[in-house]
Amino acid sequence: MTTRVRLAVFSSGLVLVAALLVDGVSNLPPFGRYAGPYGDIVARLVEPQRHMANAVTAVVFDYRGFDTMGEELILFAAASAVALLLREMRDHDTSDLVEGIRSDALRGVGALAAIVTFVLALQVVAHGFITPGGGFQGGVVLSAAFALVFLTNEYRAYNRLASSSFAEPVEALGAGGYVFLGLLALALGFGFLENFLPFGVTGRLRSGGSAAIVNWSSALAVSGGFALIFSEYLQENVAVRHGRVGK
């Protein structure tokens, strides 16, 4: 199919899409006048019913925890597929390659930044039900701490830290733990992923009930998944630059 034919097919399809878009947009509620009711109900109930201050995290890990499990498993599948595809391309071990940053100043600042980022990530996850944050956001920040180790220190240090000892077991623990918590609720006579622990006091670190554990397991799954993706791409990149590619 030539480019011209493809564009012709595309523009005829575009007419249909345009009609659907005009129809859809003209039937949306005017901007700023959200019609509800689900969001309004959640916002009104979240504090009295669940003792959580952050309604967004409450929806993610409690009210709609089941949907988040689906998202979690998409992330798990995507990270595993990246590892599968890239590992199949490499038949050389790259763990012995030395790729270091030689500037002491950069190494020192980098190590400090990694530690600060790590603590910040734990903070964001832990306060997920109180202030903006939670397992997803904190998990991404946590994996950024590992990326900083690579960027400012050493490839081997990153490999030791993230690749074998962190990424795979933590991702598996996070994704598996999420499903396990759902089944545990079932076994205890609650609904799947229903919040089965006491809700605690709003605004305290120990609030959120069992959804707080779901929050932590999702932080593990997200950070493990991203650390795995990073380390697969880094190994690929290092292997190419050292000429260790091909069969």
């Binding site: 901007f31 969001g39 959640v42 916002a43 979240v46 201050a53 202030t131 993706i229």
Partner: protein, 114 residues
């Protein structure tokens, strides 16, 4: 204008779509897919917005305060994380294609010719 945010979402979606159709590079294609996806974030957040509503976090505001819809915000937040993972997967596929065919141009790759 009360539909401007929706039009922004439509515009971003269409720009991404045109990019996908005319793309001559699989990495460029992956970026276009992410652009299409970012239109959904704007659409979701625009639908849930209430005039003069604040963030649905009641740590330091009374529960009687008018807030925007928390449900669409949760959808957007999980959407962003998953979109990044999917982009990573698409880029890994592009790497595989380059390894097998020596090119990233869909027009030059026999099995991707439409």
């Amino acid at each position: 204008m009360t539909i401007l945010p929706y039009l922004l979402a439509v515009w971003i979606f269409l720009v991404g779509l045109v990019g996908i159709v005319t793309s001559r590079n699989l990495i460029h294609l992956t970026v276009c897919v992410s652009i299409c996806q970012s239109a959904t974030y704007i659409l979701l957040l625009a639908i849930g917005y209430k005039s003069h509503g604040t963030a649905p976090v009641f740590a330091d505001i009374p529960t009687s305060r008018k807030v925007v819809d928390p449900v669409v915000q949760s959808l957007t937040l999980t959407d962003i994380v998953v979109a990044v993972a999917v982009s990573a997967l698409l880029l890994a596929l592009a790497l595989k294609v380059f390894e097998a065919e020596g090119s990233l141009d869909p027009a030059e790759i026999a099995e991707l010719k439409g």
